[in-house]
């Protein structure tokens, strides 16, 4: 089975990425709606008067107003999904060039760098989320871990971007060799 071109593994992966991309959009939309509802409840908890959710107990600590915390969590989740969405979008475009049989398209260099930056941003965001979570009164323990694999992936993506840059340069050389 061929790796590049129409009807290849790349085109199959492109279809999977398309499905994931649109699923992420739906998920982000749903999360947005829930976040808006949580924001509304933050400022006006009386909107859910009939529902007894005003007191939530987390690890023995009563949270009289859970909505601000929930809004923050939802916003963080939204940012995370947004980052993953951008990565998948860049991957879709890269795989579109692979499907077209043109892996060393000059734009792929920028796309790979964007993926690397977003991966690094997501990892840093995770640390920030831990720090904020740890400062919350209701949170007793934060299950934090330093993921070396994530940083290794970031480096690999940046190296791949350089490989693609060299490939794009060689392609340009070949195009201008008459």
């Amino acid at each position: 089975m061929r790796a590049l071109g129409p009807g290849s593994v790349s085109s199959f992966l492109k279809i999977i990425l398309d499905v994931v991309y649109y699923a992420l959009w739906i998920g982000l939309g749903a999360l947005g709606v829930v976040t808006v509802l949580a924001v509304l409840l933050t400022f006006n908890p009386a909107l859910l008067e009939n529902v007894d959710v005003k007191v939530i107990v987390v690890d023995g600590v009563d949270l009289a107003r859970p909505w601000p915390l929930l809004t923050g969590g939802l916003a963080a989740a939204g940012l995370y999904i947004g980052g993953v969405l951008l990565i998948v979008r860049a991957l879709r475009r890269i795989f579109a060039t692979l499907t077209a049989g043109d892996p060393f398209h000059p734009d792929n260099v920028r796309r790979l760098r964007v993926i690397g930056l977003i991966l690094a941003g997501l990892e840093l965001g995770r640390y920030l989320f831990w720090m904020i979570s740890a400062s919350m009164p209701a949170v007793k323990e934060v299950d934090s871990d330093f993921n070396l694999t994530a940083w290794f992936s970031v480096l690999v993506v940046f190296v791949l971007a350089e490989v693609f840059r060299e490939g794009a340069r060689l392609r340009r050389e070949a195009e201008l060799t008459i």
């Binding site: 340009r172 201008l176 060799t177 008459i178």
Partner: protein, 77 residues
């Protein structure tokens, strides 16, 4: 690129059009234009041989070296 192809001059001397040369050599007009305008990075020996054959000239008649801004001057002198 300090190496230039004097295709214009040789074509004028031979009273041949770019289209005719493209047909004879088997290179597209777009690629010949890249050669003519000095945008080419390299010329294959096979292309150069075909150009020399059809224009009845030597490689030295086509190629010229012009030190440009993108190349430092000779420091030996």
């Amino acid at each position: 690129m300090p190496i230039r192809l004097r295709l214009d001059r040789v074509l004028l001397e031979r009273r041949m059009s770019l289209t005719e040369l493209a047909d004879r050599v088997g290179v597209t007009i777009a690629n010949l234009s890249i050669l003519k305008t000095g945008k080419a990075r390299a010329v294959r020996f096979s292309t150069l041989a075909a150009l020399c054959r059809e224009l009845d000239c030597q490689p030295g008649d086509l190629l010229v070296y012009e030190p440009g801004a993108d190349e430092p001057p000779d420091e030996d002198g």
